[in-house]
Each structure stands twice: as C-alpha cells, then as structure tokens.
Symmetry: C2
Subunit: 186 residues, 2 copies
C-alpha cells in the first residue's frame, strides 16, 4: 500500500482539506467532502491520516509554515528596518485582498474548537507565539523599545479579525498607519 504516489496523494489531500477547512470551518466539513475534493478513496485518506484530528493538525502545520514564509518573503524584499515593520502590514493588506480571505485560520479554529480540543488550542498558541516572536525580532532589529512588539501584534491581530468579519482590507491600512505612529520615538 505505501509506495504508490503517496506523496502526491498527500498533497492533494492537504490541498482539499485546506481549501475546505479554511472556507467553512472545521466541524462544518465532513470527511466525505474532503475525499470528494481530493478525489481520493476514503480508505487512502484514512491510511494517510488515521483520524480527522490528524488531518486538521497537518493542515494547520503546513499552513503555518507557508504563511510565515510568505510573510517573511514580503518583509525580506525591504531593507530599512522600520520599513520592514511596515511591510508586515502591507503584506497583510495583500493577504486580505485575496479571494476567499476569511480571517485567520488559527483565530477561527481557536474560536471554534479552542475550548474543546487541546490540540487546536496548542496549535493556535504556537502559531501566534511564532508570529509574536517574529515581530519582536523586527522591532529589535530596528532598535526600538521592546514593548512595541506586542503592540504591533495587537494591531495585526485586530486587523485580521476586523478584515475577516467585515470583508474589507481597510484594516490593513489603518493598522499600518497606527504602526507608523508607534514607531516614532516617544
């Protein structure tokens, strides 16, 4: 059973899972929906991930890697340390404008399952901690006071939530403006 096109099947499975879970939420998506989306027999789905929870974890872990890589790539296109911080919010705006944007997968997942699934709570905390650490690094590299980092995190999280609920990218430019104000020396 193992050596077929297992890796290709895994990719298609995660692609289908990501599209469906992100668009509709986790509980709203049945394993049958995913099987249909991936074009895989249910038997193979369960051979790759023995339970739905494992598939959810794999989806969030892959998305975490990709999301942070895309953010880092956008930031790395900029040199000046303070501009790099603002680039975070520019990239958020680009993300908000993507078709199908529905807010942050971890905030949504935490709201849906955080109190009922320790795994979901852990993944959400890990992702947000990594994002917070990344922002702290940018702040340190710019020689700014350390307490600006958490403040930028709040702006970014607020922008994600607000953009998701209202379906507009305006929060990105509002957050960017607020961030620029916070970067000015006291």
């Amino acid at each position: 059973m193992p050596p077929f096109d297992t890796e290709a099947a895994r990719t298609r499975l995660l692609d289908a899972a990501e599209e469906l879970f992100y668009a509709r939420g986790i509980r709203s998506v049945g394993m049958d929906d995913i099987r249909t989306g991936a074009g895989l027999p249910l038997k193979r789905v369960y051979a790759l991930y023995p339970a739905k929870e494992n598939l959810v974890e794999a989806y969030l872990e892959r998305r975490d890697v990709r999301w942070r890589a895309r953010l880092a790539a956008a930031v790395d296109a900029v040199d000046e340390p303070r501009e790099r911080i603002l680039a975070v919010f520019d990239w958020l705006g680009a993300w908000f404008r993507e078709p199908g944007f529905r807010g942050c997968a971890w905030i949504n997942g935490f709201g849906e399952l955080g109190s009922v699934s320790p795994a979901m709570a852990r993944l959400a905390r890990a992702h947000k901690q990594a994002f917070a650490d990344y922002l702290d690094g940018l702040v340190a590299a710019a020689g700014l006071r350390a307490d600006v980092g958490p403040q930028l995190l709040l702006l970014a999280e607020g922008a994600m939530v607000t953009a998701g609920i209202f379906g507009t990218d305006a929060p990105a430019v509002q957050a960017r403006a607020a961030a620029a104000a916070l970067l000015r020396p006291a």
Copy 2:
C-alpha cells in the same frame, strides 16, 4: 401555556445558554445540555425558541446589550475625554481577568459559523459595528482625528483575541499603552 413563569424560564434558559455557548462554542453544546443547565423540560425550551438558531440569536443579542452597557458604565465613571478612551482598555483588562474569559463571543462565533450561517455573520458585524461606532464617538468627543477611532478598534480587537488565546490579561495593558501613544498629537 403562556402565562406561567415564562419570563423567569426565559431568563434561566438564556443564562444557561450563555454560560454553555460562551464556554464551549455553539456546535459543541447540545440542546440537552442547555435543558439540563436551565432545569427546564425540553418542551418548554422549544416553546420559547422554536429552534436552536433562535436561541443562539437571543443569547447573542442579550449579551450584546449587556456587554456594551458594562463598557459604557466603566467609561462613564471617567470625565476627561482622553481618559475615557483609556478607560475602555482598563475595562477590557478587567473583563479579561474574569474567570471563564474565553475571548470575544462574536469573534469566536464568527470563526465557527460565520461562513455557514448568515445570521451569525450579521450578528457579529452588527456587534462590531456598534463597538466601532462607540469608539468613534469617544474619539470625536476628545477632539481627535477621526482616523484614530478605527485604530483603537484594531487594538481592542487584537487584545481580545490575544488575551483569549493566551489566557492572559497582558494585552489589555499593552493595548492601553499603544492607545495612549496614538492619542498624542502627531
């Protein structure tokens, strides 16, 4: 059937629904859990709200009124216009510290059901719009530039989300400090 202690029953029902829905999410809570929590026969539950969705709406509407009233009461204890804005974040901190705090009921509900329930999406937007309008009012009363209002909204939303995920009240003081910086003239 109508004139018994219908209003008392309705209150107990909404109390139980609020406690359970907020703590565990909406789909994780069964009508039987609510019936047990309220100590009401299922027949009476369905007499008061013909479907779960109606009960969810009633829960969110009552919570909306109460949440905004509590916020307004905390703000109204302060006179100076800029201090009133900061009082918002002080009150958020007090809220975060309450036992059982699990983030914002509308953010969580939107993440869980926003894409699958138009009613949930509408309620979340209405609540957040009302909060945004309230902040805009405080900003106008303080004679500040209008674009500070949405920035404060992002800080507050980000604080709710981050406090919910990490289970700490630190975001309230971080958001308060950021807000204070934004209130300083450019």
